[in-house]
Structures are given as C-alpha cells and as structure tokens.
Subunit: 376 residues, 2 copies
C-alpha cells in the first residue's frame, strides 16, 4: 500500500489522476491546523485533535508540530497505528470492552501515555483487573451533556465512577470528557452558541463536584467541531478534541457559508450525460458515503458540494454512481473532472487507502490512510 | 492482509472474536447461490452475478461452480482483481472513461473475455480508438427503463450506438443491458412485479428493433435483486445480473418478511448501557454505513436489523457508535455480542479487509475482500 504506480503521480497535475481519488489541499489543511491551534490557545485549553477524521499519520504529525499535546481516537486499532507511528500520548475517548481489546490496551500502555473513557462501573471493574499489576493508565469519565448517546447524565453517577477509579491501584483519574454532538442539530448560530455554553457550564459544575467530593484534580475535556467554531469558551476548559475541523466538510461549509476551509475533496470524472440536464460521475456511496446532515444548521441539500459548480446538485448515489442535476447542461462534458466536497468527511476518508496531498492543483505527496478500516 | 492474527480465529466460536467483524454464514450463502442459479435456469437465462456486493474471490468461485457464466462488476479495479483471481469472463456493466482506464482495459482484454457498457457516442468513440488494433472487446448498450440514472432512454439512441459499435473494427456488439433499480421504490409485491414486467417488455422491444434494423444479434441482460426475487420473467431474457441476492440485507429482509436468507451480518459488542432502555454497540457508520431505504417495499425503520432481537431498534449511528433503543432492557448487558444485518450490504462489505466465513457459530475460514476499495 499504496498499490499500483500511485507514487508516480507525485508532481502530476490533478487532471492526470485516475478517479475517484481523495485529495487534500495542503494549504487549506495548514490553515485549518493553525486556526484550530489558535482557537484552543485563545480559549486557554490544550488541543488534542480527534484523528478519526483523517486516520493519517502525516496529518497527525502536522497537528503535533502545531502544538497539539497528543491525539484522541475512538478505537483501539487507531491507537495502535498512531502509537506505531510515533505519537506517544493517546486518549481513546470511548469505552473499550472485551478480553481481546483489554490485552491490546495492556500492550499499548507499555508504549504510550494512555487514557481510556468510561461511563459504567462494569467498564472500570474490567480495567481495574486488567491494570492492577501493570503500568497504570489514565481514566476519563464520559458525561452526556445532551447527545443521548454515551456518558453518564448526572454528577452522582460521575462521582461514583470517580471514586471507583481512585480506589483502583492501576487507574489514575484524569477528569471528565464529553462529545457535545447534539450541537450538530443547532437551528442557527445563536442556538449553537447556547448549546456550547450550556454544555461547558454543565461539565464545569460536575468537575467541581468531583474535585470537592474527592479532593482529586479533574480535567474538563470538550470535543466537537461546530462548538469549537462557535468560539464560545468558559474559563476552566482544559482540553479541546475537535475532529472534523482539520478538513471540514460539506455540512460544515453550509454552516460556515463558504467552502474556503474545506481541505478534502473527492476527484471524480463525468462518465455519462444521458439527458441534457443530468450527468453521472464515477463516485457513488463507495467513494463519498451516503451520509446527510440536518435538518439543522449543517443541513445538506444533496450528497456533497461540487467545487465551483453551485448550480449542480448530487441528487442520488448508487454504489458507484453519483447522479447530478445540472441546469447549465452545456458546461458539462463526458470526461470532465469534478471535485466533490463530501457531506461527512470522516467515514469518507475511511474508504480510501491513500490521499493525494495537493498544492495549486499539483500532487505533492501520497499520504497513506494508515488507520483505514481500523474499527476494532 | 488479513492483518494481526486473524487466521488463528479459524475454528473459534463467534463469541471469541474481536468486534466489529463481518460474518458470512456459509450455509445461508450456499442456499442463496443455489436459489439464484435455479431462478435463472427456470427463467431460461444465463446468470452473471454482480460481484460489487461481495468483492470476494472465494464467493465468486462458488457462484461460478454453481453455474454462473462469468461475473459482472462496476469498476475496472474490480475487474482486474477478479481477472487476477482466475475469473475469465468479465462484464463491466458501467461506462469506463479516461485515458488511464482505457489503458487498463487494453491490458484486461488480453487476459479475459471482456465486455463494457456504453450509453453515449463519445464513449464508443474512445473505445473504438483504444481497441482498433488490439484484441477486440464486447460492447453492451445500457438502456434506462425507469431508474433515471444512466442508459439511453429510447430505441433510436440504442440503434445509433449499435450501428456505431458494428462499424468499429475492434468492437463487437453483444446486446443491451439495464439495471432496473427503480424496482427498489416499489410500493408492494404487485407493484414490483409490474415494474419487472414492464422493464423486460421495454428491453425486449428495443432488442428486437436493433436486430431487425442491423441484422445483428442482440442479447438482453437484466440486473436487479428485487426483480429477480419477484420471479416475473418474459421469454427472451438472455442474462440476469443480480448482486445483492448472494447475501441479501436488511432492506431485502423487510421485503421478504424474514431474515432467513440474510447471509452477512456484522458482529458487534455492547459497550455502554448509559440508560435503562439504551445500549450502544461498537459498530457505527464505519462498520455498517448509514444507508437507509425507502419509503418503499424495502423500507427500513433503523440502521440495521438485530438478529433475534425484534424489540431493538438502531436509532442512530456515529462514526463508531450505534445507539439502540431496547424496551426489554434487562436482557442486554455490557460485553454481550449482537449480530446486525446491515440495511445495504454492498457498501458495508467494502468497509472490511476480510470476512469470517462461519458455520453453526464457528469460524471456518477467512475470506479476504479482495476488491475492497477498488472503486477506480
């Protein structure tokens, strides 16, 4: 990996590439990384980017060079790939369950500074047994601030878990964390700011309860790109864990009102024009995913945005076909290439073995998606 | 590939596997393959399964052994993998555009009996130039019978392309083909049968026009699993190209009224129970895709069906989380495994490097998804 003669494409202009292909604009990426670092600094928080968006070592090393304190990931397999790639501070912001995975955690803990999320006493019990006589790990307690996915919903549950962790010899209490993912449902900018502020207030109150009840320190970690971009930060937020901010995507472009911050696109070719106002590209669900957002501030009208073609709408996707309605039919020809900004970039990147790093329309490097498929 | 110690799982019971993992029940698979062969035989048609569903050589060889005359695929990259794997009769039922891909087709044509789809004179022109002095290839003309995706919509356009192909020295006219994919929108069984019959009638009429106007033979090829399962076949259908029938999936289970024919599942682990009636599994959009069907005969109510758990609904997916509403909360525990039948199995399989072939709850083999990611 990468297969065939992919490396020979370095130095080539985009129009010579075979499609569909994943492209990363290195200038936009660099700007996104700088902006995110600056936002965290302004908020007085450390930055721990979530690498589920890119799953690429090349990108993680740029984030670390720009001041990230470590990485966040969702899966043990991701953690292993990034540990192997030289990242030595890893937070698996998720619950890790099952004997095979606990053995893998033990091995990881020997190599990196490792933290794991918990939201139930049974998880703590398993981790306690796995780490009672080995190198200790950090534990962060997940709090549900409104997404209704994972996490404890009240301070007494958080306190129970905190005490359980503090009583376990191989476990250190790091703090509490949340993914305020319900901010993706915000109606508008004001609603988004309200959600972000409420989430932080809730987290700060629980952390204070844990501190006063246990005497332990308790970091507060928040993680969601819309809230990061909303720029609302209370004092006392220790860590931010945005994922999508590194590339942004079609749904975030709708929220931002422009596509200037979208670093990742899928290069596709028009392969059919079966009707005057319909063209078909060689990128379908297996190249873009069929994810859609909304109704919310991130609402999409189609299955991706076509760069420089506001008149085009990707109205449907099959496995390998994307169907576009194009009112201005005369400006589309079979063989033309289009760049599509995917609606949801995280699962999209996970479809590719590698990305083309590009600058001014020329391939500058090949970046393996090193953790592609690492969902175990 | 497969990575780590995957091979050591052969002989193990499912509950010892790490998750999420793709499982194929070999008995259900064998029955599906036999059934599909029998349906084609009964219809008096040859069978050319679409391998986009499984992308696995192990499965394709079983289909060939059961009487398939060759395979159908959507992408040049799939064709290359299956040609390398010993399948010598390949129909790319799609339009192939661009200089890099035409070079790859030339190489493929040296190795296998190759056919390509066309629906526009420009594609034929390109193929004509690519094959004028090399081994010839077969061409099939795509007809749109109602899906409004690709294909010509009338007989005069089909006839124009047929004449263009017949005039090109390196191109042989094989016939016409369609994907009657609008049958996925059928309201009920009667509507499905009507759509299937109308599609066939339309195709047979166009083929007859081509034959009488050109004096050439003209095969008729149809390809869609719902229509296949509807069992309506007119005389004169030469070829059937079902894809999903090999595994079926959650949407087809809704249409069938049972899950007995579903050969592919995703094994997941319950990692959280943050509320009495909510559990979370370690399989999200990167393990299941977020595809949904309907409103139609194939309508899904959630993001997959949970085997043996009709009370559970997968209400939302994040990248790596699946959230389930479970009224019978006491029967779910953290650490329990669930098997999920994905809504749309084709893009789901494409997320995995390998599948576990299983029999009676035990792993019997590891099948690489050899064409995973081959969307170019």
């Amino acid at each position: 990996m990468p297969g065939r003669d992919v490396g020979s494409n370095v130095g080539r202009p985009l129009h010579e590439l075979d499609t569909p292909a994943l492209l990363i604009d290195t200038q936009v990426l660099a700007t996104n990384i700088s902006r995110t670092s600056a936002i965290a600094k302004e908020a007085g928080a450390r930055l721990r980017p979530h690498i589920k968006t890119h799953r690429m070592l090349d990108v993680a090393h740029q984030q670390m060079a720009a001041g990230a304190q470590g990485i966040c990931c969702a899966k043990t397999g991701e953690a292993e790939v990034f540990a192997d790639g030289g990242i030595d501070d890893v937070f698996i912001a998720n619950q890790v369950v099952g004997a095979p995975k606990l053995r893998r955690l033990q091995s990881l803990a020997e190599r990196v500074r490792l933290a794991i999320g918990v939201d139930h006493p049974e998880q703590v019990e398993s981790l306690k047994h796995a780490f009672f006589d080995s190198r200790s790990i950090d534990i962060s307690i997940e709090v549900d601030v409104g997404q209704a996915r994972t996490g404890v919903s009240d301070s007494s549950s958080a306190l129970t878990l905190a005490r359980q962790v503090l009583d376990a010899s191989g476990l250190n209490l790091r703090g509490i964390y949340t993914h305020e993912g319900h901010d993706y449902n915000a109606r508008d900018g004001a609603d988004l700011a309200t959600i972000a502020d409420k989430a932080q207030t809730h987290m700060l109150a629980i952390a204070e309860e844990v501190r006063s009840a246990t005497g332990s320190s308790c970091e507060v970690s928040m993680g969601s790109t819309p809230s990061l971009l909303a720029g609302v930060f209370r004092n006392g937020i220790d860590e931010l864990r945005p994922g999508t901010a590194v590339f942004n995507d079609g749904s975030h472009a709708n929220f931002l009102g422009h596509t200037d911050w979208c670093a990742a696109t899928v290069l596709a070719t028009i392969v059919n024009q079966p009707a005057p106002n319909r063209v078909v590209i060689d990128a379908g669900a297996k190249a873009l995913t069929s994810d859609r957002r909304g109704p919310s501030i991130l609402k999409n009208t189609g299955f991706g945005l076509v760069v420089g073609r506001p008149d085009a709408t990707i109205v449907s996707l099959s496995d390998e076909h994307g169907v576009l309605n194009v009112p201005d039919a005369d400006s589309y020809r079979i063989g033309d290439q289009l760049q599509v900004i995917p609606n949801h970039i995280c699962p999209c990147v996970n479809l590719y073995d590698y990305a083309y790093a590009t600058s001014n329309g020329v391939v500058t490097d090949i970046w393996p998606v090193s953790a592609r498929g690492q969902s175990q």
